[in-house]
């Protein structure tokens, strides 16, 4: 075991897979010599050579295209999109092409691609850096969408993502990169995709969440416990596909649920979680399932982040509405 930040755990996962499989290629804007704008690929080029870890021209669509082409030649591409707000430049390669490769070729070809990309608010980035666009990806058939919230999860999920033979969008919350350390095994391990984690057990209310909102939800749960409420926190870890079994088992136990996301109310995946609960566990519900989200505006100007981003206080407030319904 070693104490690692999430960014170190990500580098460790990339190193593990570069070592394990000679087909793994890491590329993107400034991921080579520079080691990435967040140091996620630090020293990897030195260790594995320019043939395995390389810089590209500044063009996201081109990056997506070469990932697809390299996939057609039997490689296992792990491209990086520098910030996920730049997704729109590569939307066709992701949602119009690689997500459909296996289906459109009737299984003849596939895209074993893992796109890594940072996102998330709270660190005062300039425009189009922090937007939560995971909802767009979750709406695209053919993709899996993974969002870790801790160093341990990040390593195990990234190794699983890279080994998956279909495209995975691996979103890394910038605020979580170095916010805390935890024990991460130095050897390789995997965490299955599509499986949530119960981060905190409770009996009165289920909080279903992901990304940076996991920490906010745990903090809220601890505060609520002081007030006598037992709160369960589920970290989805994979937002597409959803771990329906874990969500429903928790809601059937607690009878009350809220869904917490950083994205705007009309975005993200909270509405989908609510719909699944309504479909499958309405008879267990003692109250409606409410959502904690950002407002339906464009992502806040950086100085407005503190008032715009949802935080543990918003989680507590909504939790109480449901507990007192």
């Amino acid at each position: 075991m070693a104490q690692m930040t999430m960014i170190q755990a990500i580098t460790d996962a990339l190193r593990t897979e570069l070592k394990n499989d000679e087909n793994v290629l890491v590329f993107g804007e400034d991921v080579g010599k520079n080691g990435g704008v967040f140091r996620a690929t630090e020293n990897l080029q030195k260790e594995f050579g320019e043939d395995r870890v390389f810089d590209t021209p500044l063009a996201e669509s081109g990056i997506g295209g070469i990932a697809i082409g390299l996939g057609l030649q039997g490689f296992r591409p792990v491209p990086e999109i520098q910030f996920f707000g730049f997704l729109f430049e590569v939307m066709d390669s992701v949602a119009g092409q690689m997500s459909r490769m296996r289906y459109r070729s009737g299984g003849r070809y596939h895209s074993p691609i893992t796109i890594r990309s940072p996102f998330g608010g709270g660190v005062h980035t300039p425009e189009m850096h922090a937007d939560s666009l995971e909802g767009l990806m979750a709406q695209t058939p053919g993709l899996k969408v993974v969002i870790p919230s801790s160093p341990y999860d990040a390593k195990g999920l990234l190794i699983s993502s890279i080994r998956d033979n279909d495209p995975v969008i691996f979103l890394e919350h910038m605020k979580l990169y170095r916010s805390f350390r935890e024990d991460v095994p130095e050897e390789e391990y995997t965490i299955p995709l599509g499986v949530a984690a119960v981060k905190r057990e409770g009996k009165d209310l289920s909080i279903i969440t992901y990304g940076a909102m996991v920490q906010e939800s745990i903090k809220a749960a601890e505060e609520l416990e002081k007030e006598g409420h037992s709160v369960e926190v589920i970290d989805l870890r994979t937002i597409s596909p959803l771990d329906i079994d874990t969500i429903i088992a928790s809601v059937e136990k607690t009878g009350r649920a809220i869904v917490v996301q950083e994205a705007q109310k009309q975005a993200g995946i909270a509405a989908n979680v609510v719909a699944e609960i309504n479909d499958r566990a309405i008879l267990s519900l003692d109250a409606p399932v409410l959502r904690v989200t950002a407002a339906d505006t464009v992502f806040a100007f950086s100085q407005a982040e503190p008032v715009w981003l949802p935080n543990y206080k918003d989680v507590m407030e909504t939790a109480k509405k449901v507990l007192n319904f």
């Binding site: 081109g62 295209g65 070469i66 082409g69 390299l70 039997g74 092409q97 070729s105 329906i244």
Partner: protein, 371 residues
């Protein structure tokens, strides 16, 4: 006041003239089937020349039959190819089996001659996934509908070949309209930056649906767009099979020798509509223009050339036509016999391992389909 030296730098007219001079059209066979550029003549045996003619005639028949089958409702999506035989088939003729083709939606003939069974080409047209299940060992992918996407993907395929040390190339096709896309530029630029073995072909048939090429760009040639990527660009007479073959063969040599990609513009024409989905070319093309290009027909000039050499006659032409018609009839039968698609088929093709939502939906549809 600017100095004289500075003024010379800003001689815009000269700048364009200098660039345009570098993009002269390569022609080997003129409209009369005469060799006008002996020095550029590619090395092709008599049998190869005959085979190329056979393929061009066959493909012209395939186009006529496809249009008619489409009108009968026995084919679906179809983008006519008549007029582009030299551009499409002579370029494919310069390839080897290990080369990988990334076609646009009009480039079905190249796939067929690279090994895709005709019945599958028809299933592609109809909208059946079996049409896209390319046989193992046939290095092609199904026709790309998103104009430009094939270009960035070709850069990746070529980079993959380079990394594997393969002596092969990725070849991709787009039209004149497609050169306006961002992915067009990104594709050639990436391949250039990585010195990847790619051949990028622009089939300039002068119209993108109804929009003439001069509405796409102020650029005098499309091949000169290669300059922006720092790669060689070539303009060829796209109605001349020998010039197209020569340009692609040369580009392939450069590519497999590690010298990087080439952009080739073929000047060609489509005699038919854009697609069979209701496009009416008389709205935007004059009959004068059509007639002018019919005189340039690649089949006419190549036929004259081969006949003069005693390599082609009416009997050979008719044999080819009959063979094409029979093959087409047979292929349509094979396509007709393909079982109908089910939702469970479509679900099964999504992932290697079905995620939970699809497992659930698979069961629901399996139940429906069993009734």
């Amino acid at each position: 006041m600017a100095s004289k030296a500075n003024q010379a730098n800003f001689d815009v007219k000269k700048q364009f003239e200098t660039v345009e001079e570098q993009f002269q059209t390569l022609q080997i066979l003129n409209e009369e089937g005469e060799i006008v550029n002996e020095a550029a003549m590619p090395e092709l045996t008599d049998e190869q020349l005959q085979e190329l003619m056979r393929r061009m005639v066959y493909t012209r028949i395939l186009d006529q039959r496809s249009i008619s089958l489409n009108r009968q409702g026995r084919l679906g999506f179809y983008a006519p190819t008549a007029g582009q035989e030299a551009s499409q088939l002579a370029s494919q003729f310069a390839l080897e089996k290990e080369d990988f083709i990334l076609p646009g939606y009009r480039d079905v003939p190249q796939l067929i001659w690279h090994g895709l069974p005709l019945s599958q080409a028809f299933l592609f047209s109809r909208g059946h996934f079996k049409g896209n299940q390319i046989p193992e060992g046939v290095n092609v992918i199904s026709p790309q509908i998103i104009i430009g996407a094939q270009y960035v993907q070709a850069a990746g395929v070529a980079l993959g070949m380079k990394k594997r040390g393969a002596k092969a190339v990725a070849i991709t096709y787009t039209g004149d309209g497609g050169t306006s896309q961002g992915d067009f530029y990104e594709g050639i630029n990436f391949a250039g930056a990585f010195k990847a073995p790619a051949i990028f072909i622009i089939q300039n048939n002068r119209f993108a649906i109804s929009t003439p090429v001069d509405k796409q760009s102020a650029s005098k040639t499309l091949a000169q767009k290669a300059v922006a990527a720092g790669i060689p660009g070539v303009v060829v007479d796209g109605m001349d099979p020998l010039a197209v073959y020569k340009a692609v063969k040369d580009a392939r040599e450069r590519a497999i020798n590690g010298e990087g990609p080439t952009l080739i513009e073929t000047l060609t024409y489509r005699y038919g509509p854009h697609t069979m989905a209701g496009d009416d070319p008389t709205r935007y093309r004059t009959s004068d223009l059509d007639n002018e290009w019919e005189l340039k027909d690649p089949l006419v000039r190549f036929r004259k050339f081969l006949e003069t050499k005693g390599l082609w006659n009416e009997e050979m032409e008719n044999e080819t036509i009959e063979k094409a018609k029979e093959d087409i009839k047979e292929a349509i039968k094979v396509a007709d016999a393909e079982p109908k698609q089910t939702v469970t088929d479509l679900i099964s093709n999504m992932f290697e391992e079905m995620p939970s939502n699809l497992k659930e939906q698979y069961e629901i549809y399996k139940e429906k389909e069993s009734k």
